[in-house]
């Protein structure tokens, strides 16, 4: 059996965490820590997870956790890595765990620096597509058409393509993942763990209150996002070798959009426009992959 497909029993996130019901981020952390194990140090900037992890003196994580400022997850992790390296510890995985705001927006500069230096850390962005900690404000990861408290009708700007930005740094490993596909997620985290250098995982983690969905629908939408190719699952090695998890018959975006409260202001034309965008972007990705010698996984 493929070692990567074994899901360890160990639970390193305790049930006492402070996530909302159906929190995609909490689920994501649980799976990721299963894959990484106890020899992991987590660096956490301001985001929902700084609350979820519990207030002083508590911690919902059974591994060491360093809280840091909002825009510094990547470089604080670089520093932890350097500190461990000078103690001769090359075994411990340093995980920077940040939200989409901390990654796509305020933390992008520091992340780019870490990636350019190819510092030996794993950076996971759990993407709930808005600033949830502060009450659902738009981020540059918020998709076109979504309601947030600062886009009271609907956001009319496209989601930034963080994967292509990270791939352009030619880091050894970048991947997308979704909490609806735990085996895939765990396998990717294990691959990342074995890789040296800056590794980046863009992880879709729905937020029931922020998306205006009910708490049992987290997995449903995390899966539909993949099945519609709104959030395709793929890996990029060294910024050039793409590997896709192919969807043979993609679902229509309408199915994904209509059932979420955050898209309730969209019209039929908006759905069509989004469908077109998704297809265009998919074709672009496939074209890029073909150009750089990709394969389907």
């Amino acid at each position: 059996m493929d070692e990567n497909l074994v899901v360890p029993d160990a639970e390193l996130l305790t049930p006492g965490h402070l996530g909302c019901q159906g929190c995609g981020a909490a689920l994501a952390m649980r799976y990721v820590l299963k894959a990484l194990g106890e020899k992991t140090i987590v660096v956490l900037p301001a985001c929902c997870f700084s609350i979820i992890a519990g207030p002083f003196p508590y911690s919902a994580l059974k591994i060491p956790l360093l809280h840091t400022a909002f825009e510094t997850a990547a470089v604080t992790a670089s520093g932890v890595r350097a500190g461990l390296d000078c103690q001769g510890d090359s075994e411990t995985t340093v995980l920077a765990w940040a939200g989409d705001g901390g990654t796509f927006d305020i933390g992008l500069q520091a992340l780019s620096g870490t990636a350019e230096r190819n510092d030996n850390i794993l950076y996971i962005c759990y993407d709930n597509e808005a600033y949830m900690n502060t009450g659902v404000q738009r981020s540059s990861a918020t998709p076109w058409g979504a309601w947030t408290t600062t886009t009271p009708h609907a956001k009319r700007k496209f989601k930034k393509d963080i994967m292509l930005i990270m791939a352009a740094h030619r880091i050894p490993y970048a991947a997308t993942a979704s909490v609806a596909y735990p085996e895939d997620l765990i396998a990717k985290v294990k691959t990342a763990k074995k890789t040296k250098g800056t590794r980046f995982i863009h992880l879709l983690a729905p937020c029931p209150p922020g998306w205006k969905i009910s708490s049992e629908q987290t997995i449903k939408f995390a899966r539909l996002a993949v099945q519609t190719r709104i959030f395709p699952l793929y890996e990029v090695e060294d910024g050039t070798r793409y590997r896709f998890h192919d969807i043979s018959e993609p679902a229509s975006v309408e199915e994904y959009l209509k059932a979420q409260g955050r898209f309730k202001n969209l019209s039929e034309e908006d759905f069509e426009l989004i469908q077109e965008q998704v297809e265009e972007r998919w074709a672009y990705l496939i074209g890029l992959a073909a150009m750089t010698g990709a394969g389907n996984g």
Partner: protein, 389 residues
């Protein structure tokens, strides 16, 4: 480049004195971003790292904010950390300065005093470092390149004893780019003086804890109380470290230095390199029988208020020269001095502001300051000197 196991005497700039200090202190993780007038500090440290004379990781970050964030990470796992910056770089670090102090990390940094824009300036004044007054960093203002090198080493020892970060401060160009003879101690002597950093608590998978997580109103205040208590302890520790340094190397600087203060009725108070010019003026006036003396404030945070009171107890007036301006109030050292005295002793404090943006503070200006204070009875909070009106 000078790297030897022997003590040597070399002619080096203030910036290179900083680099040698960090090398001798065996900084393990360095992270910095270039800014005039600090660049030679990091250039020399980079070559120390490359040629093996310093066994450190140098993280070449994309900003000063990231430099301090990287050191927060490295210091949390127990590495001895160093950085250097100036003016806009220090201002950009501001958030992380609070973070480093709040997290009780004994990071040491050199700040080359440079005036803040707008408008752009690269020349010296103290508004950059003094704007960081309340971040929880210790601040030490240096007068000579020797003092700079020695202060890096003293700063580590004090910082690690009290678990607070320390910033040593030197004037742009006047020290940073001016070469002076400096005794460079041997590595063995510094190793004997400064033991390796062994924190009580560190981020480690052996003993997992969460650091700096949310503190509710029920717990936050005690963290702040702890910092203040450590600052108070740092006053004693800094003195102790200075004494130990004297025993080891034969040099000491004190928290506040007294220069020819015997029987002085007027005390001039300065910091940094203005002090060197003031020494010349004081010598001249003393030799012609005037009752003036000089106090150099070296340690600004924690502020040695009690020591100051004991040193000024017999004076009739103070004249403070500030190379900085707290807009809407006046010179910042003068403010601090008045605050330290007010509840205890009533001595008129004349506050002079001079030398902003690197304008020369010459002996003639210092003579005028002294004359003004001598001939006026009513103290004034803010007197501008050398401003073209």
């Amino acid at each position: 480049m000078i790297v030897t196991t022997e003590e040597t005497r070399e002619v080096i700039t203030g910036n290179h004195a900083v680099s040698h200090g960090a090398r001798l202190a065996r900084a393990q993780v360095i992270s910095a971003y270039p800014i005039t007038p600090q660049t030679q500090v990091v250039e020399l440290l980079s070559s120390f790292c490359e040629d093996g004379s310093l066994d450190a990781k140098f993280i070449q970050v994309e900003s000063e904010h990231s430099a301090m964030a990287a050191l927060v990470g490295a210091s949390s796992v127990g590495a001895r950390c160093f950085t250097a910056t100036s003016a806009h770089g220090l201002a950009l670090m501001h958030e992380m300065l609070h973070w480093a102090a709040g997290a009780r990390l004994p990071i040491v940094m050199a700040n080359i005093n440079r005036a803040m824009g707008a408008p752009w300036s690269v020349w010296t004044d103290q508004n950059d470092s003094l704007s960081q007054r309340d971040t929880g960093w210790m601040q030490i203002y240096c007068e000579s390149n020797q003092e700079v090198l020695d202060t890096v080493i003293q700063a580590y020892k004090t910082a690690e004893r009290v678990a607070l970060p320390a910033m040593l401060v030197l004037d742009a160009f006047v020290l940073s780019h001016t070469a002076e003879p400096v005794e460079i101690p041997s590595q063995e002597a510094v190793d004997d003086f400064l033991p390796p950093y062994e924190p009580d608590l560190r981020l480690s998978t052996e003993d997992p804890h969460s650091f700096s997580g949310l503190a509710t109103p029920d717990t936050y205040m005690e963290f702040r109380y702890g910092i203040q208590k450590s600052m108070e302890r740092a006053l004693e520790e800094f003195q102790r470290v200075d004494d130990e340094f004297y025993e080891a190397f034969g040099r000491r600087y004190g928290l506040i230095e007294q220069y020819r203060t015997d029987g002085a009725e007027l005390l001039l108070v300065t910091s940094s390199t203005i002090t060197s010019t003031a020494r010349v003026v004081i010598d001249e006036l003393r030799d012609s029988g005037r009752h003036v003396g000089l106090l150099k404030i070296r340690l600004f945070r924690p502020f040695p208020g009690e020591l100051l009171r004991s040193l000024v107890a017999n004076a009739k007036k103070l004249a403070v020269i500030d190379r900085n301006i707290g807009f809407g109030v006046g010179g910042i050292f003068a403010q601090e001095i008045r605050a330290a005295l007010y509840n205890h002793i009533q001595i008129p404090v004349f506050g002079f502001v001079a030398g902003l943006g690197g304008r020369d503070v010459r002996p003639s200006l210092i003579r005028e300051v002294i004359e003004y204070a001598e001939t006026h009875e009513e103290p004034e909070d803010l007197i501008w000197k050398g401003v073209k009106l």
